[in-house]
Amino acid sequence: MGKPFILNLVHRLELSPEYSQKTNGAGGKEDAFTGALTSESVEIFKTQQRLAHENGLKTTIQLTYASLFSDECIELAKADHEKYGDEISLSLLGLPCPEFKSKYKTKDFCIWMFSEDDKRAIIDDVFGLFKKKLGFYPHSTGSYYLDAYCLNYIHEKYPSVKAAVATCFEEGPKAYHTCNNSWYTFLDGGPWNPWIPSKENTHCPASDAKDDCGIVCIPHLSRDVMACFDGNGSNFGTHPQNVLRGMIYDHKRRIPYLYNLIDQYRHLGKWNRYAYNMMFVGPGWMNRSGRWEVPYEGLYKSYEDAMRYYGKLKKEGLLIDMTMEEFADFYRIGLDYQEPERCLWKDILYGSTKQYFWYLDPHFRTCLDMNQGGAMIDLRPYAAKLPWKVGIGTRSVYDASYPYLIQANYRAGYFTHYAGEGTVKSYKVKHGSEAYDGCLQRTMARCDVLENGDTLLTLDPVTFAFSDLSCDVVSRFLFKKGEGKIEITREITRIEGKGEVEIEEYFTGAFGINEYQSDMSKIVLTSDGESGHQEIHYAYKCRALHEEKASQIAALIPDVDTLLSMGSDEMVAGNVEEGYAFSPCYRLALSKKFTSKGELRTWLSLRKAS
């Protein structure tokens, strides 16, 4: 744990949190802007600030549009800036207030969902009011999500802004379902740690200085990258309310899971140039009425405990607290745009030995599941840098998720009910009439960062046992820095028995942003090799191509402007399969036969198609 562990602690001064407006529920007043709610919000903010300062932590205070109309709020922020060095920042959350409602005549509160005209008008309004009240423009800002249009506009018009809160890891259909299909923050497919977004799409890291949107972005909270992928994201993050919401506490309301979560983020420094944590809280969750079955005293205790733990780490020299502006300056020192973010994550809640490997660079984001033999269970083609417009007046009013090619939970993965296939990349080992899938081989992995910047993931060997033959296979994934390419090796390190073994490396893909598949008829599947070039124009007809000596097999997916290809340096057999209506996927596979030890080495490449 030798790398610096940096904390951004962000308190936003919402006077009428959007989730408090309904929380009072049946019998409560319909008017959300009551004096009682706003004065309670200010008191909670003061408590949160006090708990941070008592533990020696500086904060970033994000003023909201509503709070900028309050002299008391502005004076509070100024006083803490003077005394503790807190940054006075500006949030684009917290828009709801009487002034906003009378001016914009809407109940919308998510900046990325407005029309482009309204985005500009609101940003100018909020930033202008901040300047009028504070005398300067902010150096950081944020929302649950900021689309590329907002980030580019803010950078162009307010170049003082260096940092922004700009996404929430894996908040999408899962959050929607958890909130009884009523919470429209669809932001799946983004980074879990800080990044500099591309000018084209917020989710994608910038490829170079030309593509740099000019703002260092941080995620809303540091989330458990396993629990949030598998289940409800809102239960597993560095917000004490998340942990309470998930009921992850004992009878004394102790929350060791939160400390374990923070510690695992510290551990990620092992493979990256620093380690990071972000806590981002408003006042709404800590109200006097209690929240998620927990009375106020329990809410208070959870925040006090969280601050105490961060404070303890700081006292021991294991944590550096920074404001968002300070962090942006730190992040740009020695910046290498092609440097990936690596995350070998272990289960810390369910007590299993499940392990994920997340990898992200300007070309793609992916996740491998060692509990399924290293199967690829998520893949987002960042290389396409899709200019995905979002907001009123676009084709995607509220859904800002970045499309996947593989999402094994939304689209089945290995396990399906009786028929069809799910999206996953794995391998099969075959012998005679028997075949087993790597997805049923539970293992664990080691991660090494090589001198040239490549990343090598090596899986512990697994055994395939057939009726009259057994063999051990070691899988290696080499992530080539800056190339958008993964080399995958399946090595047979032991083989006992007679006959032939075949290894098939396959990719079953689709594309989408949720559980459902849109029309696939623009997809073109190809095979190149000894027989020349062959094509299938997707029409759900269950057709297949076979090439005995293939140099490359590929899927062109125009809907997400992506060319996905697989190949091998040696000519191996290639199979391409079209799906059908009940199983809307495509399948690419390369295979090789063995009678003794040996390896199948293939590569997977992602490129922008156009």
């Binding site: 102790r254 927990v294 205790k301 105490r308 369910y350």
Partner: protein
């Protein structure tokens, strides 16, 4: 009969919680029970609290503290939580 109201805390439906749906229950004063709008669950406060405890069954390390994340390909080393971080 008068309309239902929220209880003193926002108790969620335990049956929906286990399928990752957060939905607050309402309180039926006449029957002295909480009930769910989304599914058929209904129960007393005592029953809700008991079920809330039960549904933590999946969090086998909820009361563990990680001592060391160890080698990459090994499970973390843990011990029973002793409360060092909390008063």
């Amino acid at each position: 009969m008068a309309q239902s109201k929220k209880g003193k805390l926002n108790y969620r439906c335990p049956s929906c919680f286990i399928r990752d749906i957060d939905i607050d229950m309402f309180y039926d004063e006449k029957k002295k029970e909480y009930y769910c709008l989304r599914c058929c669950f209904h129960g007393s406060e005592e029953e809700v609290l008991r079920l809330n405890d039960m549904l933590k069954f999946r969090y086998k390390w909820m009361e563990k503290r990680v001592l060391d994340f160890g080698d990459d390909d090994k499970a973390p080393k843990v011990e029973d939580y002793k409360g060092e971080e909390e008063k």
